[in-house]
């Protein structure tokens, strides 16, 4: 939790997900399982004990046939900046053992599996349910452990895990740049597995602080919003939608409130 002063040079990696494009195919989820050595059980239908670093929710506008509309909403870890964007995300400040930390160089919230002792306070703190607990010993039956990636350590029973924005990819890209004596990473050098996997290109990833990155512009798109903005979690995952009902579903509003007017005020908090 040591805050660094170099906010100006720091990157803030973030994501913009175009909900008008997402078809709900689930490729992001599977690519993520494969990239991050996510285990699988024989029964994964209880989504409350199924480990998904990114989960695609299906929302409906609750209107009767035939005026029904649906929208798929992929939800990775929001990598919150927290109140006042100081890096005090809901989860980081509560972890008693510093097993989860906010990296001031990238804005990424890490999770150290061998440090976590499984108190689950961070899960209670996260309103996005982005954090998953290893209720079981992860098992890779019938030689499936042979396809595990060496870049991400498999977790053990009793610890919390979550989306890391594929931080290992950042590290690998940095290593490569270092060997090539480069300081800067190109936008395409560091992309998350889900971004890369999205077959319709609904996910864009990059440095929200960098004018040259696509996300920099997209986050200011009039269609852009963030989930539960009113809680001041300051997520670094933005969504694009042209539908008001989707935007409304992304936060909580009193009956008389309209999405657009509320969040602007909160920005300055």
């Amino acid at each position: 939790m040591k805050e660094q002063n170099s906010h100006t040079n720091a990157k803030r990696y973030g994501m913009v997900i175009d909900l008008d494009k997402c078809t709900g195919c689930g490729a992001c989820m599977v690519a993520c399982y494969s990239e991050n050595n996510v285990p699988f059980k024989t029964d994964e239908t209880n989504k409350l004990d199924s480990i998904n670093w990114i989960r695609v929710y299906k929302l409906t506008n609750n209107k009767p046939y035939p005026d029904t509309e649906i929208c798929y909403l992929p939800m990775p870890c929001m990598q919150c900046d927290g109140i006042g964007k100081h890096g005090h995300s809901p989860c980081v400040s509560v972890c008693p053992a510093v097993a989860t930390d906010y990296d001031y160089d990238t804005g990424i919230v890490s999770q150290i599996y061998t440090r976590c002792f499984g108190c689950r306070y961070c899960m209670a703190a996260c309103p996005y349910h982005a954090r998953k607990f290893n209720w079981w010993d992860p098992k890779w039956p019938a030689d499936t452990e042979k396809y595990l990636s060496p870049n991400v350590s498999p977790r053990m029973r009793g610890v919390v895990e979550k989306c890391s924005f594929c931080f290992h990819r950042y590290q690998l890209a940095r290593e490569k740049a270092y060997l090539e004596k480069r300081q800067k990473l190109e936008e395409q050098e560091y992309q998350t597995a889900c971004t890369q996997a999205c077959p319709v290109g609904a996910i864009t990833f990059g440095d929200l602080n960098n004018k040259d990155h696509a996300v920099y512009k997209l986050k200011n798109d009039p269609r852009a919003f963030r989930l539960l903005e009113r809680l001041q979690t300051n997520p670094k995952v933005y969504y694009l939608t042209s539908k008001n009902w989707v935007r409304r579903a992304g936060d909580n509003y009193l009956a008389h409130e309209e999405p657009g007017n509320i969040t602007k005020v909160k920005e300055h908090h």
């Binding site: 494009k21 078809t23 709900g24 195919c25 689930g26 490729a27 989820m29 599977v30 690519a31 399982y33 494969s34 990239e35 050595n37 699988f40 024989t42 029964d43 994964e44 239908t45 209880n46 989504k47 199924s50 998904n52 695609v56 299906k58 409906t60 609750n62 209107k63 009767p64 046939y65 035939p66 029904t68 509309e69 649906i70 798929y72 061998t114 010993d137 992860p138 098992k139 890779w140 039956p141 019938a142 030689d143 499936t144 452990e145 042979k146 396809y147 595990l148 990636s149 060496p150 870049n151 350590s153 498999p154 053990m156 597995a193 996997a197 999205c198 077959p199 319709v200 290109g201 609904a202």
Partner: protein
Amino acid sequence: MKIDRRSFLSYTTAVVLGGAAGSMLTPAPWKLMDDISIWTQNWPWTPVPQDGAITYKHSVCTLCPGGCGIDVRLAGGRPIKIEGDKDHPVNKGSLCPRGFSALQYLYGPARVTTPLKREGKRGEGKWQKITWDEALTAVSGKLAELRSNGRPDTVACISGSDQGTIPNLIGRFMTAYGSPNFLCTATAKDAMEQAIYLTQGRQGSPVFDIENADFILSFGAGILEGWGGTGRMLNLYGAGKSAKTLVQIEPRLSDTAARANQWISITPGTETALALGLAHVMVKESLYDRQFIENFAFGFNDWTDDNGTAHKGFATAINDYPPAKVARITGIKEAEIPKLARKFAKAAAPIAVSGRGQGLLPGSIDESLAVLLLNAIAGNINKKGGVSVLSDFDYAKWPEIKIDETASKGMQQPRIDGAGSDDFPNTRYLLNRLPETLVAASGDAPIQALLVTGANPLYTMPDTAAAKKAFDRIPFIASFSPFMDETASYADYILPDHTPLERLQEVPAAVGISRQVISLAKPVVKPVYETHHVGDTFIQIARNLGGFVKSAFPWKDYETFLKATLKDHWRTLNKKGWVEISHDLPEPLNYVFNTASGKFEFYPTARVSGQKTIPPLPAFTPVPIEGDPQRFDLVLMPFDSIRLAGGDVANAPFMTKTVDANVLLHQTSVVEINPATARKLGLKDGDSVKLTTPRGEATVQLYFYDGIMPGLIAMPRGLGHTAYSDYLANKGTNVNQLIGAIADPDSGLNTAWGIRATITRI
């Protein structure tokens, strides 16, 4: 101070305690504890993946006919991740969840790791491991015996596909052996092919130039859910290169409908009526392509044949489908029909496509024909952004097969499924008719040995229970499946094939794409288990059989055969992974029609051949549906989900993991029902109900979904497996088990889009 025993003990204790307490203040015990703790947590069952240099191999995914290019990431030679190949012309980097799960087909509990011989009863799951020699001898022996009895035609082979060198090699084997019974799983492509044959007299794959279309009118095709090659279609959608406008016509708000610009709900089974109704408006309002009709169409207007008999033309026939009537039939608002027709006709490059969901089932010929004719009046045949025909890849001519007398006699026997017979002259395979023929035959079963490769009929066939019963009549079943699928688990011998990532093969053409792209699926890893390439297995069996069968296969192995087949392309394929054979599409219109009239036949004269009396002009007759409406008040409709594999290749555990609880809940399939319908029946969201159809029953759970037409129940395909592994078996209901086949009167292909059903609370 006297030191007695007691105080000595006290002092010792104090020193020890004090020492212990003191040392607690140093880092030593804590550091030790830290180390011990970390050491105790190195649980042997938490794997530590082996590190290694990262490399990439290019290949092509063969888990479905989509033909997507893949990049396989390897760590120290170990494949660890599948990604889409950005340079591949078919999918340009896009990949579906199944493609991403490919490593779970390479490893996992569903694999058959050695040849197996059945012990105990069929399907009991008791197996004896045998050697490849034993397995090959057993199969060759059985085949040799049937041949020596003069009945090679009693051997049938069910294949998942008939395209590419592997199915062709097996087909060649069947011919050399002497059996006409090479059967293939039929899909929507078969029905489209027939519609193309009837109107244009050409054999080949139907292709849809979605790449260049700007308005897609989809009659239930799951454009974004696996239809037309998932990787390709999703890439087009994402790149914004596909149609600017997508209109989706189906009774359920599918994922495609949800992303479409317009969703039009339609009474299922009445799509033909809508297509004809739209044609009606276009003709009445002269919104059709005059130039095409005048120069290249036959039977559009009324005509008189050589005998002087007057015939109604298409333009007259569609007088029967005015918007008011079509609205009544389809349940679509009357005003919507001309509006839609105009939008379609006025688009710069409109295209109409059919094939429900992923197109796993053929469907009615009338429907395929009506949709094709809609394209034709829009002048959309063999045009950029239109519908055309891709001739099958012209394989290098293999040495002609010399067959012996036994084989020749066998080949003259009628096919078991009746395909190509007078009843169904234009149909190539009718796998769905196999069970009834088997059951109906008296005496010895007409099939004495069945070879199954690349297919899983005991899961995918309609009325699976009946199919299983029919298979009981076959004394010898050999499966070549790499997985313990439903059919393999019901076989007598399993001679496991390699899995896609281990198997060399070429992928001749991606489904639906309007260019001839051949890709090479190269093994990314040496076979993990004791499996043999199915091509090698068949070559070996042929060798064991000797004689002409043996001499039909002069190649050392499949690889030699493939190289010989691909000739010049081999080098490019081996190096680049794919080759795009230039194909001049669109072809000049006057070259492409091989019909009797030499034109595009709106009045398909080929339909009047033989004794059949099918009215040649497409007409709407409701596609029949099984079940007594008095007893069954609802209609069950299967749907395809991109997260579930409903065909021959089943789900990987990762795919099932993505499935939501409103599709599968523990062991139970969840079915969609309109809340209004359910409330009328006094049922609540989440209720467990018994779902009964004329073919079977299942316990399912209700999910209230507003996006489904009242009166319908939707159930996903791809669940309810009984084999494979614990990660797939006994999860939900196989919808095929609840639905029987309904033969199209013209083609004999299965047209069943649903079945009547009823639900009762448990």
